[in-house]
Amino acid sequence: MPSIVKPLIPLATLPRNDLGLTPRNYEGAMSTLCAGCGHDSVTAALMQALFELSIPPYKVAKLSGIGCSSKTTAYFAGEAHGFNSVHGRMPTIATGAIAANRELHYVGVSGDGDSLSIGLGHLAHAVRRNIRMLYVIDNNGVYGLTKGQFSASADIGSTSKKGEANAFAPIDPLMLALSIGATFVARGFSGDKERLVPILKAGLSHRGLALVDVISPCVQFNDHEGSTKSYLFVREHEVSATDFVEPRETIVAHVPDQGVLAVPMHDGSQMHFRAVPAGYDPTDRAAAMHYLQDRHAQGEVVTGLVYADEGVPDLHELSGTPEGPLAAVPFDRLCPGADELARLQDSFR
């Protein structure tokens, strides 16, 4: 059942943004994901971020790969062009699209399978090129769409629905990105819209590639005891392990400014979120990596803006391209013409 329910009659009290648009203008097709899927919450946060930033929907380009997560580009900003590409290759499509037209707002939505396994190389190179886009990974630790295989973000020892334990080290997209020059990395939690929306807005306003890893639980295949989440160390704000979230219910929890929030997953396992502390300096790359590693060792998942640098030029700035879209450069400026063709052929004689 879709979690984005659309009332037939728009409410008169709907807020309007600077463009005079309401949140309805940022909605898309009805979601076909499982009820309670974290991905739908990310979609909702994206809609709100776009709405709040007053971005005209038709100036948005939505790109994705393949997976439950990648389907979500259809579920928001219906007036925006969408591009549901092939598995893992979204960053390449985005690179080309951005090369052709730097004026649109690019939102890429991918999954942990899409971006950390089959498309890992493309993610890495998109980060290196600092193409200007918001790059969201709906990270659930599994391949949802192919029914629950481990993804590369699953922790060692986490078990699948069938009970097998994962033996291989996880890839943390933020650590990876930081190590290859990322200019914006952040993490959110699908259940914490309050924190996620500002992160997405910051990402949409970033000068280059803004990578936002969103922990987004899969209610179908990562909701059992033994999933990586229950391995996490409980520190503060502990929620009793007996707390049980009904399946089909979207997890909602607000990560506090300080300390760790333990969030019960659908199976009663827990995940521990820690917001970056007050006074945290998101401009120090080495410190950011250290902090992530440190917290990971404690079994915690850091949320918030982990690193940002607005001083690094994006692909276009590095390439010296025109301020407007390359695709709009008039033909007569692109084609040197007959006389020049005759002249340049002197060197072939």
């Binding site: 380009a61 591009f83 290759r89 080309g96 951005i98 190389g121 692109l334 004689r349």
Partner: protein
């Protein structure tokens, strides 16, 4: 220590009709000497071709360069050599064995040739190249490099190359670097003087100026392709380096630096991608967004691009892909030529897919077809693959000067303007097809109301996801019709007819010159043949008509599996039994003699 082998020398003069082969070690600087000679002959107005037969290696392995001169314009690869320049001790034996009886061997006589290599039916011309260079040049590197210019000097004397032409060429090449120019001039003179004094010059095989240069240029296919992409208005290019396509992008980049920078603004963006999948992804993304975009690759790259080729086909997104074919399968022989990607490209990707292909035969067509490829890709909203090959792409060819019509306007296909969009009650991406089954598209961000959702998943004509058989079929059936409709927009087959020909010969791409020469040789043996060279896929009806007209048919192509023949059978319905094959696929450019031999044998006309 000049070796004086006294042998029978052919005295019959053969002016402007001979072939020479230069056997070198790669990485020793022979390429510049060889192309200097080739270019000088071109400037003398004599039809000439130069073929580089090189190894997949940077330094130390054998490499050959062949120059064929032919006053009648037959410049496909020659198989018997009148003169061999042996600069590589590793291959002496094989190289000397290849010279035709009565021919010549030019060798470095600083050291004697092992006596077992001597042949009594060829003339050995010794020039002490190493010794001459050692006497004049200090640095070991100069001695090594300039040995090549030194043999070029000897050849200038032996073959009667115009000395003014050579002098001008050296000036053009090294004019800005006086030291280098002087060293090259000296090395050239050393070889020239020695040959003039010690050997009988010119040889009976030699050159005399002609006027075949008028209106012609000397250019390789990859440079011409890059020029075509520049003139077509391509702004985005993405690629991953692979022989023999790399110089397409190298040339495109340098052309862009020259013609596309205005007041410091770069009207282009070239991305060296992380792999070929990414390269095509970038092209597809850019094309979707309204730019003219292309990639250049070779077989292994096409293999990687398969999934996205199918995607672009089904989602109907333009893309231009240049495939400079090399020898497969797998890594194969990266520096050798073949036409073995025909089937791969025609049907690339899983599911029912068919692509539009262009088959240029020479650099001039590379230029024209590259421009055409963008028009076709945008008009038919589909990937277009231009299949050149290593022989065309990396060798210098004499072709008519490239022409451009300033009235040319790119065909951007059916892209709705904001006004057209507003006039529509509702825009549906895959509706409102024209007579050629093309539906209008919109560009992202161009106007409100134009949005659609691109997907590789099953969709109906409104672009919505579907799993309903009829709705799915409606779209894929239109795609098939659209592909067929493209046939009439492709360059038409080229026909060469002969009186009384009952045999039809079909060829493709770089086989052109060899097959046309073969047709003349066959006619001289009372075996007249008509030739048809196909230049695009899907095939227009004229292809089937040609096949129907001829009693006996040969398909000449450079692959093992008769891929063009299969494509003809599959797509024209001609019966397999009617098509006989001439297959040459060892990796070297096609030679007329191979075609003649095969057809003569198969027709029993020996």
């Amino acid at each position: 220590m000049t070796l004086k082998a006294v042998v029978r020398t052919e005295t019959r003069a053969r002016v402007n009709d001979f072939a020479i082969k230069l056997a070198n070690v790669n990485g020793t600087g022979s390429a510049s000497a060889n192309s200097l000679l080739m270019k000088a002959i071109f400037r003398m107005g004599i039809p000439v071709s130069g073929k580089n037969l090189f190894p997949s290696n940077i330094q130390g392995l054998p490499t050959w360069y062949e120059i064929r001169v032919n006053k009648d314009g037959h410049t496909s690869r020659a198989l018997d050599y009148d003169l061999m320049v042996t600069m590589n001790a590793q291959t002496y034996a094989a190289d000397i064995a290849e010279v035709r009886s009565g021919g010549y061997v030019l060798y470095d006589s600083t050291w004697p040739l092992p006596s077992e290599l001597l042949r009594t039916d060829v003339t050995f011309l010794g020039v002490p190249l190493a010794e001459l260079c050692a006497q004049q040049f200090e640095r070991p590197r100069d001695r090594l490099l300039l040995k090549n210019i030194c043999y070029a000097g000897a050849l200038v004397a032996l073959l009667g190359v115009d000395r003014d032409v050579i002098a001008t060429l050296l000036e053009e090449t090294f004019g800005g670097k006086p030291k280098l120019r002087d060293a090259n001039q000296l090395a050239l003179k050393l070889g020239f003087d020695y040959a003039s004094e010690q050997l009988t010059c010119p040889l009976p095989i030699h050159l005399e100026p002609m006027d075949a240069k008028e209106g012609n240029i000397l250019i390789d296919g990859n440079t011409a392709t890059a020029l075509g992409c520049l003139y077509a208005g391509a702004t985005v290019a993405a690629w991953y380096p692979i022989t023999p396509s790399t110089s397409v992008m190298d040339n495109f980049a340098s052309l862009c630096r020259r013609y596309r920078v205005h007041d410091g603004v770069h009207d282009y963006l070239i991305v060296q991608a992380e792999d070929e999948l990414a390269a095509l992804g970038m092209v597809v993304g850019a094309s979707w967004n309204g730019a003219r975009a292309f990639t250049a690759t070779s077989g292994p790259g096409i293999s990687l691009m398969n999934e996205l080729l199918g995607f672009a086909y089904y989602a109907e997104i333009p893309a231009v892909i240049v495939n400079v074919q090399r020898t497969g399968p797998s890594t194969g022989m990266p520096t050798r030529t073949q036409q073995a990607d025909l089937l791969l490209c025609a049907y690339a990707s899983h599911g029912d897919t068919k692509h539009v292909l262009l088959f240029p035969a020479n650099p001039a067509e590379c230029f024209d077809f590259a421009v055409k490829a963008f028009d076709l890709a945008e008009r038919f909203q589909t990937p277009v693959l231009m299949l050149s090959d290593l022989d065309i792409g990396m060798n210098d060819w004499v072709v008519p000067q490239l022409a451009w019509d300033d009235a040319f306007l790119p065909d951007r296909g059916r892209v709705l303007t904001a006004e057209e969009l507003h006039a529509l009650p509702r825009f549906n991406r895959y509706e409102d097809e024209d007579a050629e089954f093309v539906t209008p598209r919109t560009l992202p961000g161009a106007a409100p109301g134009g949005a659609y959702f691109v997907r590789g998943s099953g969709h109906d004509k409104r672009g919505a996801y579907t799993e309903v058989p009829d709705k799915y079929q409606e779209v894929v059936d239109r795609l098939a019709h659209k592909h067929t409709a493209a046939a009439l927009h492709l360059p038409a087959p080229v026909l060469h007819r002969r009186e009384g020909a009952r045999i039809g010969v079909v060829c493709i791409g770089s086989g052109d010159l060899a097959v046309r020469e073969a047709a003349e040789l066959l006619a001289a043996r009372d075996l007249p043949v008509d030739v048809m060279r196909v230049r695009g896929f899907p095939f227009p009806p004229s292809v089937r008509a040609f096949l129907d007209e001829h009693e006996i048919l040969f398909v000449v192509e450079q692959n093992r599996d008769a891929q063009l023949r299969s494509l003809l059978v599959l797509e024209t319905g001609v019966s397999t039994a009617r098509l006989h094959s001439v297959l040459v696929y060892g990796g070297f450019p096609l030679s007329a003699q191979q075609v003649v031999d095969s057809i003569v044998t198969q027709t029993g006309s020996e």
